[in-house]
């Protein structure tokens, strides 16, 4: 046993400092969403709820937010459906060219966003496709797909094939086995993948910027506004999204911990 170890105190103190560092910009964004701004949101001019109460008064913020939501939902649905199918195939089936499939799924995650964005944009350019909402969605599905596969794959791997076998033994058709057994068991993984995919789509700027054309998303709005100073209303939306996401994650975690405790107690 160690007598006195520096590590005992050093690590918690260090971690606290690290967390403060990680959270500073979030706190800044949140605080300045309450700034009583005049022309620009740079210096502190007093506390107000106005920005929160009249978010949409600022030209374009809510429209950009709205189109980000629409793009996020559509890309998530498409990417989650295709990604789940791939995850099932990878874990459950033997097929040739496995390593090539793995590589093809990994590469989009390893490719820098500028390359993904410029590549798609040059393809749209040579095909003469007009850029807009559709091209943004095409791009988002592409980079979300692999992340869905990774997330759902872990869940499929932990699924006991005996449950599906039992279903088949009881004369369920393949479709019944899938919808009554496989799908409900995979659902938590699929939901996690969908949330991740939505978060990635919602926050993407670089790839979107190459393929948006005249369409605007929330990140693109912030980027365009940055040269003149980001309006407080953008801070409001950013903070609201942050609070929503953090509450969601913490709720899921606390519930998971309670469930684990109950299981451990033998109920």
């Amino acid at each position: 046993m160690k007598r006195f170890s520096l590590g005992k105190w050093a690590l918690p103190v260090y971690s606290t400092i690290a967390f403060v560092y990680l959270l500073i910009p979030i706190a800044y964004t949140f605080v300045f969403s309450f700034n009583n701004t005049f022309k620009s949101n740079i210096s502190w001019r007093g506390f107000t709820f106005d920005n929160w109460l009249h978010v949409c008064d600022q030209q374009g913020v809510c429209e950009a937010f709205g189109s980000s939501l629409v793009i996020g939902v559509i890309s998530t649905v498409i990417a989650t459906a295709m990604g789940t199918a791939i995850a099932i195939a990878i874990v459950r089936y033997r097929f040739k060219l496995r390593s090539i499939v793995n590589l093809l799924l990994f590469l989009p995650m390893a490719t820098p966003e500028v390359v993904l964005g410029a590549g798609l944009a040059s393809q749209f350019l040579s095909m003469g496709v007009d850029k807009g909402m559709t091209t943004i969605i095409i791009a988002h599905v592409m980079f979300c797909l692999s992340f869905v596969v990774v997330t759902v794959k872990a869940r499929v791997a932990s699924l006991d094939p005996a449950l599906e076998e039992a279903g088949r033994d009881l004369y369920a058709s393949p479709a019944q086995v899938f919808w009554k057994i496989t799908f409900p068991l995979l659902l938590p993984g699929i939901m996690a993948a969908a949330l991740l995919s939505f978060a990635l789509s919602f926050d993407d700027f670089i790839i979107t910027n190459f393929n948006a054309g005249p369409a605007t998303t929330f990140p693109k709005y912030v980027y365009t506004a940055a040269s003149k100073g980001v309006p407080a209303e953008a801070n409001v939306i950013g903070s609201a999204v942050f609070l929503f996401a953090i509450l969601l994650v913490v709720t899921v975690q606390v519930r998971g911990a309670r469930k684990a405790k109950r299981l451990a107690a033998g109920n």
Partner: protein, 305 residues
């Protein structure tokens, strides 16, 4: 989030594939893989083709014809070598910084808090919390915090930490600071997944054999957690090398901080110099592919996902 899965997370309990119904597998894989072929692979090929294009004889801006102008690459390197060098230098320094900052943090959460799963989960959520606020908003927040007429810089001027004619915004330091900050979660999560499974008994054995904590760390902890270090490094280095938001003058950069991404962005969307933008992208992608293939050689393709 799923980034944790990169750190060799899901590999362990995976059962080997059982069924060999090639037809079903084919139909499950087809839509997604066809999609990636169409909107991931073909665009890469399209980039290579564009990078070799020649200017249109009419001389119109933004119009090019098929060609085999290898000189585009030479031009891109000659004109933009400072940007290329800067990108990799920034990425190198920021990745090291992220590793140094993340390792103790990941150790604290993954090893010290092992007995308290709820706290562990909540702190992990805090690590990824920056992801929940928009990437651009959090970067812009740093710019405001370190702005030339902001409190931090005024304080440093007053106390003499910073010379009166010096500022932080727009410097190399500011850009590297922002890059480090923005990509720390990509480093911490893979480190956490390996440290979480680190067998404490090995450390105890080492200390029982009279190894000092420093030697135990160097000879036991570090080698065991190497997979996490490698995937974290890869996951941080790649997006940093291609980033252009942090280095752009509207955010943390200045006139002399532009990276490859900034050049690709402005060549593609502003000056419409598609061949140069594509040539730079292809070169960036090549470097990344080399890095990835070294990684794949070490750990195989099954661990990639």
């Amino acid at each position: 989030m799923a980034f944790a899965a990169f750190g060799h997370g899901g590999g362990g309990q995976q059962s080997s594939p059982t069924k060999s119904n090639a037809k079903v597998a084919f139909f499950l894989l087809l839509p997604g893989l066809a999609y990636l072929g169409l909107f991931f692979l073909t665009p890469l090929i399209s980039l290579v083709i564009t990078s070799l294009e020649a200017p249109d004889p009419t001389g119109d801006i933004g119009v090019y014809q098929y060609g085999f102008e290898v000189g585009n690459y030479w031009y891109a390197i000659q004109t933009f070598w400072p940007h290329i060098a800067r990108s990799f230098a920034y990425a190198f320094i920021a990745t090291i910084a992220a590793l140094v900052i993340s390792y103790p943090l990941a150790y604290f959460i993954g090893v010290r808090l092992r007995t308290r799963p709820l706290l562990q989960g909540l702190l992990l959520t805090l690590v990824i919390a920056p992801f929940f606020i928009s990437f651009l908003l959090r970067t812009f927040a740093w710019r405001q915090i370190f702005s030339s007429d902001g409190v931090v810089v005024q304080f440093m001027h007053a106390t003499g930490l910073l010379a009166q004619n010096q500022y932080i915004a727009g410097t190399d330091f500011m850009v590297i600071f922002g890059l480090t900050y923005n990509f720390i979660p990509f480093m911490t999560l893979p480190l956490f997944t390996t440290l979480e499974r680190l067998d404490i008994r090995l450390l105890e054995a080492s200390s029982d054999l009279y190894a000092s904590p420093a030697i135990t760390f160097r000879k036991v902890t570090l080698p065991i957690t190497m997979p996490g270090i490698i995937s974290g490094t890869l996951l941080t280095f790649i997006p940093i090398a291609g980033d252009f938001v942090n280095a752009s003058p509207e955010f943390l950069g200045g006139p002399k901080t532009a990276m490859i991404g900034n050049v690709v962005q402005s060549s593609f969307l502003e000056t419409q110099d598609y061949p140069t933008a594509s040539a730079l992208s292809v070169m960036l992608m090549t470097v990344i592919l080399i890095l990835v293939s070294v990684y794949v050689k070490k750990s195989g393709t099954e661990d990639l996902l």
